[in-house]
């Protein structure tokens, strides 16, 4: 099918998983589904939707996950009017179906309105970045002797990070850009080229998945015990079950390299990293979103340093100093003499006079008293290593102590005046009564 301009219509599918996923995003994900957590002022999934919308031929975005529909559909209804030229829908999986099982289950909805030679964008909801989707589509559609089934977006990582069971590793044929070998989360070194979790998929993918589905179905009804990591037999993984067996010298899986910004967003700490990078992207592409004295479209009287997002309903005292890399949400109130940097302040929070907040995520409805210091430690990629990615540092070190990390206050946390909260994680609704350092506070 074609749109009024004669371009072939394509769709985008975003996989957002469900409550059992995103446990490393606690305590923020205890109240709000991870994909709806705002970073740089907008929910994570909204940034992904916007990446897709920038591709003119995308006419529908389907969001797949197993969150209960009533947790996601209000958000979809709210943003619908903002992107009126496309349709956005949430399709709830009945159980965990995996990165290929979900799209297979909803293949009819995905295929509807597309021509047979069409394709769709598939994005793993766990990632963020600046994806070259239009370029990937062009690359995918190039005429080849073996047509592309799948084009995988890839980027460089360090040798050490790629061999540490973090990423899917890709070996590429430099001439044809075919993937000749693929290993998901290897423990030893395979390649520094890693899978970004963003794909262009041909509709021919569905017959591929169908074969596996039928095989599994047959085994199931034949009474064979299948260990699918605790998931049902219908759960099929794109990386393990489709890509890995399909690669090779005569395979049909191709790779598209990019060095543009990309990161996983698995921990709350990585949200701070994503925040910074999305704010930098605004500076390039949508400067009207930033509270930046240079762009003069926002009349914030307080002092702004670097890239800062301030929601139009937030009230910031003129004596504050905000930034760099700060996002302030809806209805937040910030009192006189407050300093905020490298942090995300979620909606309805209050920060009182003279306090300092840095490397912290303050959850919704947080309350921070006067002269209080709330501070975390960044886990940024090593600046000395090119292509280094964020380290997903374990929560505890070998001695059982909490590793220094971003401080996270769950929703409705109250921090009294004049205390210090350092490198700590506070669960929702907690009312602190003293200073804390390097602790998880239940």
């Amino acid at each position: 099918m074609e749109d009024p301009n004669g371009n072939a219509i394509i769709k985008a599918v975003i996989l957002i998983g469900g409550p059992q996923k995103g446990t490393r995003f606690r305590p923020l994900s205890l109240d709000v589904p991870k994909p709806l957590t705002p970073v740089a002022g907008y929910p994570l999934v909204q940034h992904l939707i916007e990446s897709c919308i920038h591709v003119p031929s995308v006419k529908e975005v389907l969001i797949l996950g197993y969150y209960p529909a009533d947790e996601i559909t209000p958000f979809i209804s709210e943003i619908g009017p903002l992107y009126s030229s496309i349709k956005i829908r949430y399709l709830q999986e009945y159980t965990r179906l995996g990165t290929a099982g979900g799209i297979y289950h909803f293949r009819d909805q995905i295929r509807a309105g597309l021509s047979n030679t069409s394709c769709f964008i598939l994005i793993n909801g766990d990632v963020c970045g600046d994806f070259p989707l239009s370029e990937m589509l062009e690359f995918h559609s190039i005429k080849r002797d073996i047509p592309a089934l799948l084009t995988v977006l890839a980027t460089e990582a360090t040798r050490q990070q790629s061999s540490n069971s973090n990423f899917g590793c890709i070996v590429e044929d430099k001439n044809s850009h075919r993937i000749t070998h693929y290993v998901e989360k290897p423990e030893t070194f395979v390649s520094t080229l890693i899978n970004c979790g963003v794909y262009i998929c041909s509709l021919d993918l569905f017959p591929c998945i169908s074969k596996i589905f039928s095989q599994r179905q047959a085994n199931y009804y034949a009474g064979e015990i299948q260990d699918n990591n605790g998931d049902c037999w219908e759960s099929i993984a794109l990386e393990k079950d489709i890509i890995t067996p399909s690669v090779g010298n005569t395979g049909c899986v191709y790779v598209y390299r990019s060095n543009r910004m990309w990161s996983q967003v698995k921990t709350a700490g990585s949200a701070i990293y994503a925040n910074r990078h999305y704010l930098a992207l605004y500076r390039e592409r949508q400067p009207e979103r930033l509270a930046n004295s240079r762009c003069k479209t926002r009349n914030t009287p307080c002092k702004i340093i670097g890239d800062v997002f301030i929601h139009q309903t937030a009230q910031i005292d003129p004596t504050c100093v905000i930034g760099p890399n700060v996002s302030i949400g809806k209805n937040v109130v910030v009192g006189p003499g407050v300093r905020i940097k490298e942090s995300i302040i979620l909606g309805d929070s209050v920060i009182q006079d003279h306090s300092l907040v840095m490397y912290t995520i303050v959850g919704w409805n947080g309350m921070i008293g006067k002269w209080t210091r709330v501070e975390g430690t960044p886990c940024d990629p090593n600046p000395n290593k090119p292509f280094a990615k964020m380290d997903n540092v374990p929560l505890f070190n070998d001695e059982g102590k909490l590793n220094p990390s971003i401080t996270i206050l769950g929703c409705h946390v109250r921090v009294p005046s004049e205390v210090v909260v350092l490198n700590s994680i506070v669960l929702p609704y907690k009312e602190l009564s003293r200073s804390f350092s390097n602790e998880i506070i239940l």
Partner: protein
């Protein structure tokens, strides 16, 4: 009457404040420690004071000479070339101390209290024996030398740092002696507690005078701050002029040349020295800020000692007996928890756990 003040040596426990400044000249409640004692001695009629020093005698002489003239007191510096302990210095100053048969005071330079010198003299003349030791009651006597005495005050024995409870009265570091005590001491390293007092106690020559009011040995930063709180309380009770006004809480002593900005909260138990500048929105509790320092806006200090001519940035947090030596610069937004920072140091990274920063 005469007095001898055991000023002693390097004041190492009060470092980094005493790294380049002799301890007696470190300001306590905006007045050098030694001057508190000298003022009290002058008020009690003392005209000659021997300062037994082993370090930086010249610097002290220079600083104190104008004070001595103004107040009408003669200061004699008795310089130990080798450490003589707590008794040896008396022997060194024998000529001056025994020039007349009047008893003389001996004070430990680290003590702060209400200095009841007149009452001490009365008590000493009352019992007529060779020595009077001032004792005070403390909560944790085992850290000190404990004194056991009879009802009339006659001291029976001493126990150094007892392992089991003996008594809660300790040697407060202030004495009155008759010159005859000098016959017991030679010019060599001698401990008055261990070598001289026991013999005097055995012969019934030592009496204990119970101190009323507060007492503190301010030789280390933690105790310096406790002593400051006690001293300010005592000043208030005596009707001294402490700071009042917006943003002042509890007992606060502010030098008239200091400037405090708007929206601050200063106190309780804070001492602000001369020429100190405190910008807006600063909160200071239980701390001493020495002369010439500057504290920039929105910072928060608790239980800290800021040395001379320091600059503390904005949104700084200091707590837990943090001590900054002279001329320390702390960058904006830094957190110092129990740091001891040596002079002329610039701190740009936080110190989240107690540490010494060289």
């Amino acid at each position: 009457m005469k007095a001898l003040i055991l000023v002693g040596g390097y004041g190492t426990r009060l470092r980094p404040l005493t790294l380049f400044r002799p301890k007696p000249l470190v300001e306590f409640a905006n007045k050098p420690i030694l001057v508190h004692q000298l003022d009290a001695l002058v008020a009690a009629g003392v005209t000659q004071v021997v300062l037994a020093v082993s370090y930086r005698a010249q610097e002290m002489e220079q600083e104190l000479s104008s004070y001595a003239e103004k107040v009408g007191i003669t200061l004699i510096f008795s310089h130990e070339t080798e450490p003589l302990g707590t008794a040896g210095p008396l022997a060194l100053a024998r000529e001056i101390l025994s020039s007349n048969p009047e008893p003389f005071f001996v004070l430990n330079a680290d003590i702060t209290c209400e200095f009841p010198f007149k009452e001490m003299v009365q008590f000493h003349k009352g019992h007529g024996k060779e020595g009077t030791i001032v004792v005070t009651r403390v909560e944790e006597p085992s850290k000190y030398g404990v004194v056991v005495c009879a009802e009339d005050g006659m001291i029976q024995r001493f126990v150094e740092k007892p392992q089991e409870f003996v008594s809660n009265k300790i040697n407060a570091g202030m004495y009155i002696f008759n010159p005859s005590i000098l016959d017991r001491i030679e010019v060599k390293p001698t401990s008055i507690e261990k070598e001289i007092f026991p013999a005097m106690a055995d012969s019934g020559n030592l009496y204990a005078f119970e101190l009323q009011g507060y007492w503190m040995d301010i030789g280390q930063p933690k105790d310096f701050l406790v002593g400051m709180c006690l001293h300010l309380t005592s000043l208030k009770a005596k009707g001294a002029k402490l700071a009042t006004g917006d943003g002042i809480v509890g007992n606060v002593l502010v030098d008239p040349t200091a400037k405090i900005g708007p929206n601050c909260r200063i106190g309780p138990n804070v001492t602000i020295g001369p020429d100190v500048i405190i910008e807006e929105g600063v909160c200071i509790k239980r701390s001493t800020i020495m002369k010439g320092s500057k504290i920039k806006s929105h910072s928060w200090l608790d239980s800290s000692i800021v040395g001379w001519n320091c600059v503390i940035g904005k949104w700084v947090r200091m707590e837990n007996v943090t001590v900054l030596g002279e001329d320390v610069i702390v960058s904006d937004e830094v957190y110092i928890n129990g740091g001891k920072v040596l002079p002329h140091k610039a701190i740009s990274a936080s110190v989240p756990e107690p540490q010494i920063i060289m």
